[in-house]
């Protein structure tokens, strides 16, 4: 309980710092106000109009006052509109969040579903032909940036055979499951490739370590089959680093897959926020950063709880402390 409280305090602290830094930084981005006014009023605004805009947006107040104002808006849920498009910012993020969430979940699932068996087998048959092949392929994947992978996938699977739409068209999972899968397939695979490679390497190293443990010998001496040995005995104790790196990736995936999102025209958190930076939609950027940070922290909390599942000792220690 105390642990949860502490984590909560930490989360709030991080969100506050992140958003505050963002708001300070945004204020100092060159050419800021001028551009905002131009966007808000269109070219040719007279000084009074400009004044009004500045006042309306609170740009004439101190950084702190602006920040406090922003926090108020953020908490109250009244996020206002984008300067240029008059779209409700809240609505935009309501649309972007599931896109990012699906992308994150699918790419993580694809990466993990592939990485776990390959890593187990690779570790079990260390230096075998399979291992060498898998390891080499992994290095290749680690070295392939997604701005190279995405066009190749599109060429192969959208242009040459029309398996998947390009660019992706968002469909809700329940609205039309098939279209949904088709829309997310290529971007998820693109993201999953380097993820897979990273996970595979981390897990393989850990499983090799675990397989050298005495309890694995115990299990073998029990007559446990190889599959059960790897899945039931070796996997779980080896998950620590994997879960940790997967957790770190979550932040990156929530907002950092801008290139993939842009290439496939998916309006995820990252794209919306980055476009916000480019278009000087500062309020959008601020909400985006705050949301991404929140999601990241929330998921990390979940991941911490996963540690307890992986290692009962952690659970014990937590329960006590």
């Amino acid at each position: 309980m105390r642990y949860l409280l502490r984590r909560l305090a930490q989360t709030i602290f991080v969100v506050v710092v992140v958003t505050f830094l963002t708001s300070v930084a945004l204020r100092f981005i060159p050419g800021g106000n001028e551009v905002i006014i131009a966007l808000k009023t269109g070219p040719g605004a007279n000084p009074e109009q400009a004044e009004a805009v500045i006042h309306e947006l609170g740009l004439d107040r101190s950084v702190i006052a602006q920040y406090v104002m922003w926090v108020g808006d953020f908490v109250s849920g009244d996020w206002g509109q984008t300067f240029q498009t008059n779209q409700s910012i809240a609505t935009e993020f309501k649309r972007a969040l599931p896109v990012s969430a699906y992308l994150m979940v699918y790419s993580q699932v694809i990466a993990l579903v592939l990485a776990v068996p390959v890593a187990l087998l690779s570790a079990y048959r260390q230096n075998s032909r399979f291992d060498r092949l898998a390891s080499t392929a992994t290095f290749g994947m680690l070295s392939l940036p997604n701005f190279i992978v995405a066009p190749i996938l599109v060429l192969l699977f959208s242009v040459q055979r029309h398996w998947f739409p390009f660019p992706s068209i968002y469909h809700g999972l329940w609205d039309s499951p098939l279209d949904h899968i088709k829309a997310f397939a290529l971007p998820s695979i693109t993201i999953a490739i380097p993820l897979y490679a990273g996970y595979m390497r981390v897990l393989r190293a850990d499983v090799i370590g675990t397989l050298q443990s005495d309890f694995i010998t115990t299990a073998r001496a029990k007559g446990v089959s190889t599959g059960a040995l790897l899945l039931k005995h070796a996997l779980r104790p080896s998950l620590f680093s994997l879960v940790t790196s997967a957790a770190v990736q979550i932040g990156a995936l929530m907002g950092g897959v801008v290139i993939v999102e842009s290439y496939f025209s998916m309006n995820g958190m990252g794209r919306v926020t980055v476009e916000g930076i480019f278009k000087k939609e500062y309020t959008t950027v601020q909400y985006g950063v705050a949301l991404i940070a929140l999601v990241y922290l929330a998921v990390n909390l979940l991941v911490d709880l996963t540690y307890a599942w992986i290692d009962p000792r952690v659970r014990r220690a937590r329960a006590m402390g």
């Binding site: 115990t218 007559g223 089959s225 039931k232 104790p237």
Partner: protein
């Protein structure tokens, strides 16, 4: 396998097979070498012995003498990669050396099982105790989850664990060392094996617990009529709990005899040295122990002649040139490999010399107050003056 009787606590399948006659285990010229970048490691180099049902055999030797590899090699637990294994192991009359992995698995846990040295690391840290014990029950006997759990509970009772109910849902780290080893024993005996390997089962434990565990193994052995191979570096451990003792050095069998015969009349200077290295409970603390000088031989390039010769106080030129064969001693089941065994004239003369020299040394040692020496885990001796 479902048709087999469930054996935990009941009559064992060893008992039912007793009728077959013949030894339970017959090892002939077993060789186990490992290929390493340094060269071929000859961990087990032609060992032969037999073991009857219900008997306990002690395999004794220093670290690196090949005793652990021998036990694992018999069981077939060693990885195939980079391992060279030859010879024959007849288990219940069946050759098991080249058995495919699938067949071997059927034997593991069910007919042969093993207890390991360190119960902390040998138990899965993230699996509940009950599940770990239940796993082999379900695997070999096809029990349901529920039955497996009940049987596991009975097994825990059998190994005299306090509050066995509670233990079923605990993890290894929540138990004491002694309890963990009891769990290991319960685990090893779950399916009523006919042969139990106990690989240094007490090394990691407290002295008082050691005795209890050995007793428990002994008790279970008689209750279930299974054979036990007790692997240890400690002659003291095997003394009271085995019928027969086999001493190994550098991958070879160097002396073998029924326990009583061996202690009454050991032939190998090496065996004698091992015996002297046992600390006696009534020794004052910080008594300097008698250790065997030198290091165990390099198994890649073993010394010529008798492999113990470089460290043997009694070694002669012959020992360094010619490897001694196994010689049968007075007792027909007592064999040893030594040109100048304990009790031989040469040995007696040399002993007297050494004893005299030692007398002087000890006198000099006793005189000045020695610094207090607290052995640490890393065996560094940190004194205050340092």
């Amino acid at each position: 396998m479902t048709g087999r009787p469930l054996l935990a606590g009941g009559p064992t399948q060893a008992a039912t097979r007793q009728l077959d006659g013949g030894p339970l285990l017959e090892v002939t010229d077993l060789v186990t070498h490992f290929r390493t970048p340094r060269g071929l490691v000859r961990s087990v180099d032609g060992v032969s012995f037999t073991l009857d049902r219900g008997k306990a055999l002690g395999i004794v030797g220093e670290s690196g003498s090949g005793k652990t590899v021998l036990s694992r090699s018999i069981m077939g637990l060693l990885p195939k990669l980079n391992t060279e294994r030859s010879g024959s192991v007849l288990f219940e009359g069946r050759e098991i050396v080249d058995l495919p992995l699938k067949e071997r698995r059927r034997i593991w846990g069910a007919e042969m099982s093993m207890i390991f040295q360190d119960p902390m690391t040998s138990l899965n840290p993230v699996m509940r105790i009950g599940k770990q014990i239940g796993e082999s029950l379900r695997l070999h006997l096809g029990l349901s989850r529920r039955a497996a759990r009940e049987t596991a509970l009975r097994l825990l009772q059998d190994v005299r664990i306090p509050e066995p109910h509670k233990r079923l849902d605990q993890y290894a780290f929540e138990l004491s060392g002694g309890m963990r080893q009891r769990v290991m024993i319960a685990l090893a005996m779950a399916c009523g094996p006919t042969l139990l390997f106990a690989d240094e089962p007490t090394t990691a434990l407290d002295v008082t617990v050691q005795a209890q565990i050995l007793e428990l193994i002994g008790l279970q052995r008689t209750e279930r009529n299974m054979s036990v191979i007790l692997v240890t570096h400690d002659l003291g451990v095997v003394a009271g709990h085995t019928d027969e003792i086999m001493v190994m050095y550098a991958g070879r069998l160097v002396e073998k005899a029924p326990t009583k015969v061996l202690f009454a009349n050991m032939k190998m200077p090496y065996t004698e040295a091992l015996l002297h290295s046992i600390p006696k409970i009534d020794d004052p603390s910080h008594t300097r122990l008698n250790v065997i000088p030198g290091r165990p031989p390099d198994l890649v390039n073993p010394p010529a002649g008798c492999s113990f010769s470089p460290r043997c106080s009694f070694a002669q030129d012959r020992c360094r040139q010619e490897a001694p064969p196994l010689i049968t001693a007075e007792h027909p089941e007592h064999v040893y490999a030594c040109w100048y065994p304990v009790g031989s004239p040469h040995h007696r003369a040399r002993s007297a010399e050494l004893a005299a020299a030692a007398e002087g040394l000890v006198a000099r040692w006793r005189e000045p107050a020695r610094p207090t020496c607290a052995p640490t885990a890393t065996r560094f001796c940190v004194s205050k003056t340092w």
